[in-house]
């Protein structure tokens, strides 16, 4: 009887904690809506949804690319392609209206863009977290993600500072797949990539688990909500660079020396609150949402921290910096360029995919030498 009571208490114990987590998250969303505006509260809620979906359903980018390259397991990448296709069906027609209410993640292909995507792909395998993955990992208590995140922000700030110099090296005209024809071409390309992945898949690895289907549906719905509320696609990198830029300005750095940070739109955002910046809000929401899931799960935060050699921690910091810098040159990370670029019809999203996949193959080879593989 006594044991039964103890068991009951153990089962009941999570409920007050979980109620407190939901209550705290709701309060923060309401506070932002009341003090900054309803749109910004809603964007924070969308960010929380991303964090919960990504961590709760274990939907990511770096991990599935690793599984594809090392073990020919394409399920995670197929789920990414499914989510992108679902968003594209709505987003490409909306963006193609061209009235400026809704803009796409459109950027030109260029030398720096391709090189940036390659470096980002390599660095994200070192960290084993992409743009969104680093946020999720930090929020769920992964110390590698937590260390990489501030360096990611610094790199994004520095990459933005130098962006125009890099784009001057050579950039093609902007190519956007628009209208019904653009949507059909995008869906056909996504289908062709999916078919190729299924063809090369290891025996028994061609199934898409229900969990990943649910994750793809959730991420697609949240990405469309982001588009309808913010007027722009889901992104990560701009907000991180903005945080570092605000910090630099507070320390006395003269941002007017940078053509990027001195541009009128960026000056305005530097003077405004991050609680009115779209990507800042969704980034904060992703970190907090991942924390909610980790704290919600029984034992979710009780995993011991990994014991890595010093060179591994140094490598994580350098890779975080490289991810931030390279993602600016590449006009986005896996979210802003790959996911949002392709789903809104930008050619650079496809080029980013190819270059970052090649970079990922290189990054996977670096991990053992950097002390990031083996027993933890």
């Amino acid at each position: 009887m006594a044991q039964s009571t103890l068991d009951g208490a153990a089962r009941a114990a999570p409920h007050p904690r979980r109620a407190a987590l939901i209550g705290a998250a709701s309060l923060v969303v309401l506070a932002v809506a009341a003090t900054a505006g309803a749109r910004y509260g809603l964007l924070l809620a969308i960010g929380l949804g991303f964090g919960v979906a990504l961590e709760g359903l274990r939907f990511g980018f770096a991990g599935p690319w690793r599984a594809l390259l090392l073990r020919r397991e394409p399920a995670g990448v197929l789920a990414q392609l499914l989510a992108i296709a679902l968003v594209a069906v709505v987003a490409i027609p909306l963006v193609s209206q061209g009235d400026g209410e809704i803009i796409g993640a459109h950027a030109p292909v260029g030398w720096a863009m391709v090189g940036g995507a390659f470096v980002f792909g390599a660095a994200m395998q070192v960290v084993l977290g992409c743009g969104s993955g680093t946020l999720v990992n930090a929020g769920s208590g992964n110390p590698v993600g937590l260390l990489a995140l501030p360096f990611f922000a610094l790199g994004s700030f520095a990459g933005a500072w130098h962006l125009l110099w890099w784009t001057d090296l050579g950039t093609l005209p902007l190519v956007v797949l628009e209208g019904t024809q653009g949507l059909l071409v995008t869906l056909a390309l996504l289908g062709a990539v999916a078919a190729a992945l299924l063809w090369i898949a290891a025996p028994g690895a061609r199934r898409l688990p229900r969990r990943l289907v649910a994750a793809a549906l959730a991420v697609a719905a949240l990405a469309l909500a982001n588009l309808a509320v913010a007027g722009q696609p889901w992104g990560v990198v701009y907000g991180l660079g903005l945080w570092a830029a605000k910090g630099a300005a507070a320390l006395g750095v003269d941002l007017s020396a940078s053509a990027f940070w001195a541009a009128p739109g960026n000056v305005e955002r530097l003077g405004a609150s991050i609680f009115t910046d779209v990507t800042s809000l969704t980034n904060i929401g992703i970190i907090a949402g991942a924390f909610l899931v980790a704290a919600w799960r029984a034992g979710g935060l009780s995993a011991p921290l990994p014991r890595l050699p010093l060179r591994a921690w140094v490598a994580v910091a350098v890779a975080g910096l490289a991810m931030g810098y390279a993602s600016r040159l590449a006009f986005g990370c896996n979210v802003g360029a790959f996911f949002s670029g392709i789903s809104t019809g930008s050619l650079h999203g496809w080029v980013w995919f190819a270059a970052a996949l090649a970079g990922s193959a290189a990054g996977l080879r670096l991990r053992p030498a950097l002390g990031l593989e083996g027993p933890r």
Binding site: L42, I103, A107, G336
Partner: protein
């Protein structure tokens, strides 16, 4: 040490970021844009990693 420490640090970093921001910038809920950009008739701000500065 467990992830409780690092997750706590992540939350503390978010709180510090919010405190820094609130100390250096003002919020104006009355000047906020409509709830949805879609159908608002207003142009998007363009603060996105794919956007070059204008």
């Amino acid at each position: 040490m467990t992830r409780r420490l690092t997750a706590g640090l992540a939350v503390a970093a978010l709180l510090a970021l919010a405190a820094f921001d609130l100390a250096t910038a003002e919020l104006d809920p009355y000047g906020a844009p409509p709830l949805f950009a879609l159908g608002s008739g207003q142009g998007s701000g363009g603060a996105h990693c794919a956007a070059l500065p204008e």
